[in-house]
Symmetry: C2
Amino acid sequence: MVFDTEKFIPGQSVDCVIVGFDKEGLKILILRWKLVGLWGLPGGFVLKSEDLDKAATRVLNERVGISLPFLQQFHTFGKKDRRANETRFSHLSKMQVPQTFLDWFGQRFISTGYVSLVNLNDCDPKPDHLSDLIHWCPLHELPDLIYDHSSIVEGAIDFIRNQINYLPIGRRLLPEKFTMKELQQLYESILEKKLDRGNFQRKMLKLGIFIRHEKHLEGGAHKAPYLYSFDGDKYDALLKKGIGFAS
Amino acid sequence: MVFDTEKFIPGQSVDCVIVGFDKEGLKILILRWKLVGLWGLPGGFVLKSEDLDKAATRVLNERVGISLPFLQQFHTFGKKDRRANETRFSHLSKMQVPQTFLDWFGQRFISTGYVSLVNLNDCDPKPDHLSDLIHWCPLHELPDLIYDHSSIVEGAIDFIRNQINYLPIGRRLLPEKFTMKELQQLYESILEKKLDRGNFQRKMLKLGIFIRHEKHLEGGAHKAPYLYSFDGDKYDALLKKGIGFAS
DNA sequence: ACAAAAGTGTTTATAATACACCCATGA
DNA sequence: TCATGGGTGTATTATAAACACTTTTGT
């Protein structure tokens, strides 16, 4: 076996919904399991002497190479049959796999779901030893995922939408410099509704957490937009009270 | 031993923050452990073939005799030392307690916290086999609780405050019939701030989820207030969208 | 008739919404 | 110069907040 099951707490796992954003919209990081060719979320187990949060941080670091990620627990999935419903694994037992592996993966797991907001450009996604492919998949084009991972993603998105004013949405998902339009599109992707351009811009700028830079240069037969970045300290201070967006 | 540790998932527990309300304010149900004389939250373990939510429901039913409780998971507490920090248990090992018991309680537990909103009048609190006293304690008079239970309560209250518009606050915490003043005091207890009487009343009544009954009769040298109850269907329908209160 | 608390109304301030106007840019 | 999209302004509406007035009741 590739890992030593003795080191981990049995029956306890973490699953990470790693969210990115680019001009196409929100993306979720998924990976394909070698043995069965099915897609799932990056996840892992909890070391016997490791904080639960730490386990999630470790998974994230191993998977996308981000060492100080934004990571927040949102729900613990504890249905007794949440893995038993997965029939696509059943042939595995007939394969040439060590019994300890089968025993470990055959147990019931209670899994805690974490959301991470990352900047796609800062990521260096790497498959793990169980997976052969890793993919930033547009949220609305996700394939069927193993186990209950599809509903874990759904829970994560609901959580983000619900907590939108208290999560570092812009700061974590956008690159250092961005245009107001990009920020607006980000909020629109999450809320899945159009926002008024003028009102959004005014409301945002009134928050006083932006630094305005030189003009955008690149193409487009139109007025070039300003580039903004966040004033980190002011952003963090305001986030505690909630960063309201134009609803 | 009083229970068979073989039946339960090792290392996994649930803790319930059971919240009630009366004219004195918010109350939390706590119980005192026989062996050590310390107060803690009602909690329990998860059967090997039982949903996590079901375990919490079972604990609640056993503790306050409510069979269809409002119960919602809010956070999973997974710090590796969340129980190890409790030194007041250390003498237990010297006592006359079965080794299986010590082994079980000595493990690291990852515990999922649940909030329950109950009507004090409908409750019939019963201590369990490990506790000798059960007590509805005013939120702001809570004693030191074992392990990290104090921070679990804190997390629960933060959760309620945060989700106040999406939780059946009035419906679950108040008796069938209540006055507007009682409803207002309930919101004030949770938010820990005074609300304007007139604005609160108007905003609430505009929601259209109330049924107005005959006049209150009992004492007080003043105008008797109306009694209200909730229109259950309308309440539930509105709750999904959020029941806004006067902030 | 008075105090106390309930019910209701009024005014003002603030924020949300819709939409209009002008400006800069590259084709 | 024209189309496109950016930046900003304005009018309207809705909501929040503060507080005043009236009503009912028991003493």
